[in-house]
Symmetry: C2
Subunit: 343 residues, 2 copies
DNA sequence: ATTATTTATGCAATCGATTGCACAACTAAC
DNA sequence: GTTAGTTGTGCAATCGATTGCATAAATAAT
């Protein structure tokens, strides 16, 4: 069985004394082929261990059955879960997923999109980088009539399908929950509010306070990179300034974790002295002590949705591509870090 | 600039009154092309915004510049980090990575490999599933002369390049460390020892004990699925049976985490009463209380290595593919959960 | 029995880049 | 000035599957 050479439709054709056209049609289920030939073709194909050459097919048909997927960082739970979600849907439809990461570098993002186009992907699913300067590369994708789906980090500047979570709602839920637990001086950790999602979280935080008759206090709002170290620094500042606060709502689990460490190191109790809520539902949040209340973004479902929007666009007429914005409702995952009142 | 139609080498050729052959050669840096034509071609290519059609190129040359990468689960830190590592090397060489996950289902594994072959990938990088029944699909890959690199979970049944970590050494280091901290009754959490890596960890554990004059005690060895719940169950059993133990070395961080919870719930102190060491260096381990000592497998580096082995094989003569087994030395990451003696 | 229609298949071009071979034009050697 | 060698391009086939158009054969309609 040293079957090094791949069998092609021509091999099947030769064996059956028909042409490659017939074989191709038979394999594709073209109704203009008689039952008997179809069966013979399928039988011979099996015998010869035929596997279609998707490259040849792609060249002729223009469809590669490939989706280019661009994320900032592959090995971040949120993103890898979205990749997982996309892969599940794509695979079930016999599509494959090429992944690339931008590492938040704008140039990488441009290169990745170009590489995808060169590989002739059938479309792209992407999350915009933090340092994206313009959207020309994405516009090219659209101009070529290829489906483009943006998730999580999107922009109104591109007329294309999007999946986001309701960041406002997530933040509103989180803040309201803290208020319901009796907290009134709630700090907020955020980042430069250029990016929509953080803007929205901030807005949700402020609105929840106002809706409950609490005046927002900018002295309690800290901006940084939302990493663990930032959370530590913010918490230390709060403590040093003897700022009066009884809760922290952080726009990221990592910063929340940093704050948790500092608060505990200073002998304060969580949630009694300081209640804590994060955002992301990173896997580690259930393992902290106490476990961290956070906002679940349902990344796998987000991946499913992104893939479904992708195939919707792919299957719609080129002239009237269906663009749709799907907003996923987040869920507040209540754990011990914020639970002052026993339910 | 409604440049919907892609420009091809023929467009460039027409504009310059040469043939496509010349353009192709000029673009590929073939030395038989005069400097003047080459410059003209490159200039025109830029002007017309030419991008090579990799599909056409792939069909003719037989190289798709695609690597198929198969992992059990995309959204597990260890695996997504390896994907990241592979992607970094691949991208720098203008190769792209298609990812698929098996979810530990053997059939999925077979299908993914078949799909990769249909997509005409230039080779495959894979980790074998837990439920793999035979290796025929991988053998097909090798028979076709394609590079195959296995990582983490490998098998001696396939003559191909492999990257693993020295699981024995990791376990030996971990156990020796516990002994150095004064522990003598060290429990071990493992799984059915069919899979090499767990066998090796068990062996490292036993040998470390023996080398330090401690008799291994099978009553302290627990087998399960190594999930958090398993760790909890094992720890509860240990406590209920009033088994005398002063440390646990778990072959997985998750099971270690479960044990940490149970031990603390029972009012015992870590590391004073029970010292704890895990394995994997999952991101959460640095966030537990106390932070968990564990074994770092350097997954990103493992990805780099896998990719390098892949390209070695790819660039070697088909007849004498270089197969190499690389063993990465793990590192014991010592954190508070095992640190009884201040250094 | 003749025409119209359906059914099943073949022909040949096409997708875009690559490449072995041929060949013209020019240079160098004797 | 004839032969040998070098240099730069072109020609045409090829990779494997797909598809519009043509056509032969079989069936239905008149």
């Amino acid at each position: 069985m040293e079957n090094t050479k791949k069998t092609t439709i021509h091999d099947i054709a030769a064996k059956l004394n028909v042409t490659a056209s017939t074989v191709s049609r038979a394999l594709k289920g073209n109704p203009r082929i008689s039952d008997s030939t179809r069966k013979a073709v399928l039988k011979t194909a099996r015998e010869l261990n035929y596997e279609p050459n998707q490259i040849a097919s792609a060249l002729r048909s223009g469809r590669t059955q490939l989706i280019g997927m661009l994320v900032p960082t592959i090995n971040r739970s949120f993103f890898s879960s979205i990749i997982r979600g996309v892969e599940e849907v794509a695979n079930s439809l016999d599509y494959r997923v090429i992944v690339s990461q931008s590492n938040e570098v704008f140039e990488n993002e441009e290169n990745a999109v170009r590489a995808f186009l060169n590989a002739r992907v059938d479309g792209i699913i992407a999350s915009i980088g933090k340092n994206t300067q313009h959207f020309d590369h994405y516009k090219q994708v659209l101009e070529r009539g290829l489906p483009l789906v943006l998730f999580d980090r999107t922009t109104p500047q591109l007329h294309t399908s999007q999946v986001v979570i309701d960041d406002y709602q997530g933040a509103y839920l989180a803040t309201s929950h803290l208020i319901a637990q009796g907290c009134v001086k709630i700090a907020h950790f955020t980042t430069e509010r250029k990016i929509d999602i953080y803007k929205e979280r901030y807005r949700g935080y402020v609105n929840a306070l106002e809706d409950h008759g609490i005046a927002p206090n900018e002295a309690l709002v800290f901006s940084g990179s939302l990493q663990l170290e930032d959370g530590r620094a913010h918490a230390e500042t709060l403590l040093q300034k003897k700022e009066n606060f009884d809760a922290i709502f952080s726009a990221s689990d990592y910063a929340a974790m940093g704050a948790m460490q500092v608060v505990r190191e200073n002998g304060l109790k969580i949630p009694e002295d300081v209640a804590l809520v994060g955002f992301l539902n990173e896997p580690f949040t259930s393992f902290t002590d106490p476990p961290l209340t956070t906002v679940n973004q349902f990344p796998i479902e987000m991946g499913h949705t992104a893939a479904n929007l992708f195939f919707n666009a792919l299957n719609s007429e080129k002239e009237k591509i269906v663009t749709k914005k799907t907003v996923i409702q987040p869920e507040l995952v209540i754990r011990a870090s914020s639970l002052k009142k026993k339910p």
